[in-house]
Symmetry: C2
């Protein structure tokens, strides 16, 4: 596996792969790789001829009071996991290789970026969209693997690709969970043992909403949300930020639940902010 | 020469050209081609193996009170000129092929887009940057030819390419002028004969500023501007919007003129808005 810190090396390597008619898979990450990333990379390796992974903790997507400085970084461990999962090249650029100066030209996300996470993290998705556009410009034509864990990000990246006509096919990857239901996340590392024991509450809350839709036939958004909030409220360590029921593409709250929807939840356990989501389909029970 | 209205056809054609190791030249335009465009296309044809031209009157870069509806459109004439100048493919997409829906994800230009033209045309450069990013995503790796006539646009496109790491080399092309000095522009078509006779005033004003810097050794920005304004004021049909002296890369007004600078002018003759610019070099006289 090639390890490089120079963005242009990724471009050159993947241009050459495409010249040899190879199918390119790309998995952008912020490092601190875990089983979720490995699963995504393995899928890319199964579906593509060449797999690139980027590791870049993107300063543009962190707010001033967020955990940019303390975000877990362990490149040697990341390289080992990426290689084991089947990556052919890892780009791990220093911040000044990606942004030698503060960018003057950036990418902006309108309404899709203002709801849910965007309401709690102003500017977050503009930062995501800017760095993803840049990474896609470096990777060139590819299949890009994005986890459903960051569901809103996935929706926005798909829209980014369409709106800017990028030569990219976005491939959504299922969430990988611990046996007790906690979605894998680099931020789980921050949890104390007591907090870790409380963390599956997000998933239980989502499952309560999913059962309401699929098994009990509830069609009222307020009632489904109430079912989620009730379960979330049972865990005293959890401070709920939002529990939402939205259209899976527009992220708008539907007047009534009549087709496939997405349930999303976010909140804090101690100082750790966690998010999770599931799909729910009317009449699936 | 291939003529297509489908954006994806441009991508396919140029991907195939690159696969055959051909060097791709690209000249994005808003149509109403004239001698300036032909000169740019001819240069691209001399320097590249394959030349693509796009013709798209971009709604995103026009303000609500501007001339989007009346902007000159004559595709058959454009095709003939592009072919004569050496284009291999012309993409002339309808608006709904470029923007099937209003884009949610757009490109934004910070301070470079707020001065000069941006101050008189709010949002203009966000619209330019969004469509140029999209056209570059469609064209892929290329040499992109941009006229110096839209000098601020050229500076911004270069910055766009750097900030978003696009696989594009921006090639600036000299302004083409009529014998009396008027820079070629699609908007010159709007001028009545009387207005046309007055229109070289922009160039005379720029030359007065250039002479002040290069021949008279003037180093005060205010004095150079005054020399430009004085000449501009002699033509009663001309309403000056701005006459500026700026750094050629940052577009900032320097405290004193000590190196290469750019002189820019904009204003109206009747209802027609015209712009022009020249370089000036200290000690060149």
């Amino acid at each position: 596996m090639i390890i490089t810190h120079k963005p242009e090396d990724l471009r050159t390597f993947l241009d050459e792969a495409r010249s040899a008619t190879k199918r390119v898979g790309f998995h952008p990450t912020m490092g601190a790789l875990h089983g979720g990333h490995r699963s995504n990379i393995r899928r890319a390796a199964a579906e593509c001829d060449v797999v690139a992974v980027s590791i870049f903790v993107n300063p543009l997507q962190f707010g001033p009071d967020e955990d940019f400085e303390s975000y877990p970084r362990d490149l040697d461990n990341d390289y080992a996991q990426a290689e084991e999962a089947g990556a052919d090249i890892v780009l791990a650029p220093p911040a000044d290789a990606m942004f030698p100066e503060e960018p003057v030209v950036t990418v902006r996300v309108r309404h899709l970026g203002d709801v849910l996470e965007g309401r709690h993290r102003p500017g977050h998705f503009d930062g995501v969209a800017t760095v993803v556009t840049k990474l896609f410009a470096l990777s060139g034509r590819c299949y890009a693997y994005f986890g459903e864990k960051d569901y809103q990000q996935l929706v926005i990246v798909r829209r980014l690709v369409a709106d800017l006509s990028l030569p990219v096919v976005v491939v959504p990857c299922s969430i990988v969970r611990q046996p007790d239901g906690l979605a894998l996340s680099s931020r789980n590392e921050y949890l104390t043992p007591t907090e870790r024991a409380a963390a599956p509450v997000l998933y239980w809350s989502l499952l309560a909403g999913k059962r309401a839709v699929e098994e009990q036939g509830v069609t009222s958004v307020a009632d489904v949300r109430a079912a989620m909030v009730k379960v979330a409220g049972r865990e005293k360590l959890f401070q709920l930020e939002y529990a939402e029921v939205v259209d899976p593409l527009s992220l708008a709250v539907p007047p009534v639940i009549s087709s496939e929807i997405r349930l999303l939840i976010a909140g804090r356990i101690g100082k750790v902010r966690l998010i999770d989501n599931v799909a729910a389909n009317v009449g699936e029970g």
